[in-house]
Amino acid sequence: MAALRSLLVSAAVSETHPEVDARRMAEEARDRVRFEEEVLELADQAYRVARRLAPTQEEAEDLVQETFARAFRSWRQYQPGTNLRAWLFRILTNLNIDRGRKVQRTPDIQPMEEGDYYLYNRLEESGAAEDEDRVVERLSQDSIVEALAAVPHDFRDVVVLVDIGDFSYADAAQILDIPIGTVMSRLHRGRRNLKQALAEAAVTEAS
């Protein structure tokens, strides 16, 4: 009886303010539309990153679709005013990991002899006295895509987020849920892997 009474009372309360409920619903619908529009504006960026993380174009497309479906479903979990891009890319990278990408052996942690000037030095050696500004063009765009695909996953995630996604170290740390120091060391290794592969490709192409 008490339960019934409280039910009647609460029904009466909400019935006395139907316009408040209607206004709240309209506001929510408007917020949702705006949220979905903002997320959709990030589609090109999401696709570019997904293409470098997923092994094939088809898988990249699936990954982007899953990401957006999940983002739209969980829009209430997004806190307005926080970094929407980081929020969306966190969904994307988590889904990519959940998709069961092939387990890789932890990459060798041998010390890498070559420093950051290595690739330039190699290119300079292989083609003396050329226009300085065009040294980079001796690398083909295909070789860059291939070299990036060969970088081990954990390192590549960071390189792709920072270099292609244009995220800060702090954002990448938040997205991948790893400490910022780990972002820096993986980025460092990943970029060196990339440059080593590019150096090898350039030498092979030249010979």
Binding site: A43, R51, D116
Partner: protein, 74 residues
Amino acid sequence: MDPCDKCEDLLQPFLDRELTDAEREEAETHLDACGYCRKRYKFEESLRRYVVSACREPMPAELKAKLAALRTPL
């Protein structure tokens, strides 16, 4: 430590704009005086742009339409 080696170590965080003011000043002072390092910094900068442009791939129109269709119907 050799100043060029030090400058080489600062290259990545320099371009990522993640150096402290003091570190950045140190790198800039060295770069002003050292053509060897300057060339390599310039190369790294253009390499980054080149990597970004190699990865600039338009999203298929069908995929874009599929994403738009995932929106909540009004």
